[in-house]
């Protein structure tokens, strides 16, 4: 990511010396056509198109019948959307904190020059190779009240044991959270571990000479030094949270009722199932807005003061 900000490397390609600048470097321009089309037509064009049409009352087909902010007013007065936002907030905050804490703790433990480091790392990271669909279906099975974890503990003799998050509207989002953290925390551990390995050995020597304990050294000295790594992790987790969709579809399909709906699912339901395009466009524009709100402070922290290349 940092590479995008590097001042353009001092390797101006050999100019052909032809008079017309438009035809200079023609092959490169020709070869870049797919990139230019993707960037301008799909990314910029598609996004602007969606934003513009979110102000229309399009139903089954997109129409240019502009109705101002009607779709947004309806969006924010729809209970399903409010539930989605609330779920995303709970999932988001919990997932951010837990993933960071688990990721950093595991990375710190693996950093203690232990044996079998590769084995442990392989174990913590393998869920990341699996799709959200596989993750969701697996945890749906483990959390199944009749056959899963709850039943096993009851069979051990604890008759009143209750652990059935997926069937209770109040706790369903935490059931999804368990699966989400299982899938994603290995990646953050890996990034944190790379960050820890980048820290100078001398820091540890100095801390030891000063008689600072291991845990305290991690929390007071190493953690503040890892700021860039932590910010990158935060952006990664946050952009993953907003995209949360497949996991919910596989694990609960939004249920029970609408208790585990999320914004990404709301958008797709309205666009492709309920045939209410305008609502879908408005909801997706709100998603875009939230990404911008997250990214601007980050971009400011990362690139603030420096000129972009």
């Amino acid at each position: 990511m940092s590479a995008t900000t590097e001042p353009s490397a001092a390797r101006d390609p050999a100019p052909d010396g032809k008079p017309n600048p438009l035809f200079r470097n023609l092959s490169a321009k020709f070869a870049s056509i797919p990139m230019i089309i993707t960037a301008l037509v799909v990314f910029v064009g598609g996004t602007i198109w969606t934003i513009v049409y979110s102000f229309t009352n399009s139903k089954l087909l997109p129409r240019t019948n502009f109705v101002g902010f009607d779709q947004y007013e309806r969006l924010w007065s729809t209970r399903r959307w409010m539930v989605s936002i609330e779920n995303l907030a709970i999932y988001g905050i919990c997932s951010l904190i837990l993933t960071l804490v688990i990721g950093f703790t595991l990375a710190a433990l693996l950093d203690r020059k232990i044996r079998f480091e590769n084995t442990f790392r392989t174990i913590f990271l393998y869920p990341f190779a699996l799709s959200f669909i596989v993750t969701g279906l697996t945890w749906q099975w483990i959390l199944n009240p009749d056959f899963g974890l709850q039943n096993v503990v009851r069979n051990w003799g604890w008759e009143s044991f209750t652990f059935n998050p997926l069937n209770d509207p109040d706790t369903v989002i935490y059931g999804i959270l368990i699966a989400g953290i299982w899938q994603g925390s290995g990646l953050i551990m890996c990034i944190m571990l790379a960050g820890l390995r980048g820290i100078d050995e001398d820091i540890w020597k100095a801390a030891r000479v000063d008689g600072i304990g291991t845990v305290k050294t991690y929390l007071r000295i190493i953690l503040p030094m890892m700021r860039p790594v932590i910010i990158t992790s935060l952006v990664l987790i946050a952009s993953g949270i907003i995209k949360l969709y497949d996991l919910v579809v596989a694990q609960t399909n939004g249920g029970p009722g609408i208790a585990s709906e999320v914004p990404a699912k709301y958008v797709i339901n309205y666009m492709f199932r309920a045939q209410n395009l305008g609502q879908g466009f408005a909801a997706s524009t709100m998603m875009l807005l939230s990404v911008i709100i997250i990214l601007i402070p980050w971009a400011y922290l990362e690139f603030g003061g420096r000129k972009r290349g």
């Binding site: 990511m1 870049s32 301008l40 392989t122 913590f124 596989v134 969709y245």
Partner: protein, 301 residues
Amino acid sequence: MADTILNPVAEARGPRPKKAFSRANIFIYGTLLLVSVYYLLPLYVMIVTSFKGMPEIRLGNVFGPPLEPTFQPWVKAWAEACTGINCDGLSRGFSNSVKILIPSVTLSILIASVNGYALANWKFKGSETFFTILIIGAFIPYQTMLYPIVIMLREIKLMGSIWGLVLVHTVFGMPILTLLFRNYFTSIPDELFKAARVDGAGFWGIYFKIMLPMSLPIIVVAIILQVTGIWNDFLFGVIYTKPDTYPMTVQLNNIVNSVQGVKEYNVNMAATLLTGLVPLVIYFISGKLFVRGIAAGAVKG
């Protein structure tokens, strides 16, 4: 570590003899083992469930190993499980996924490597601007671009077809792959490029004769990244294909979460494992390269 705090001088006298069972070590290994259980349990449960018969599952011990191991659930998941009216199992989804995967991976890597090469060695006016837009585009939620792409695919008559999905994967893989290749080509010594220019090689000559053969390591990383990413995709598959061309993930979800009929948990788990097998095999074979791939692909989120 407690003794270090109490007596820092002892530390300075040279390497301490290693104690295998210090309190710190017990804490570290204990925690790691406990956490490993949380990570490994689902895989274990999937495997044992998929080898049990339904009567054994109804007994209710998900953690118990299968008493009478049977391959029947795997056979059924592969060849007989039903989605709607089709009852030919996951095999169709598997072949669709392969048909989607191979052209998507090839096309996206080919285009991205040429892009990266142009950006690194043949900058032209505006090339950096397009690249910046491309990278910012990677952060836009897919939802804002889903419908415009439906319209575009309809226009070129590819909506619902495998090639339409291939194009979508190529487009959305482009930011990260272009970044990967651009950074790699920028790190190749400039002299090599200049020497080739002096010898009269042009844009494509240098690309095919020098840059492409040299970029083998990064191509491997890109392949790992794209194969796992595209295989695991659900969102694009469910939107841009139709039931005949559904990729494996979509078909899996339809099989497991179908409302009709008795739930066959063993078949479901076998199907889930079958779908997860491809990325898992890649993960265990590629090892460190996978970590490099996801560290780069992490941008994609």
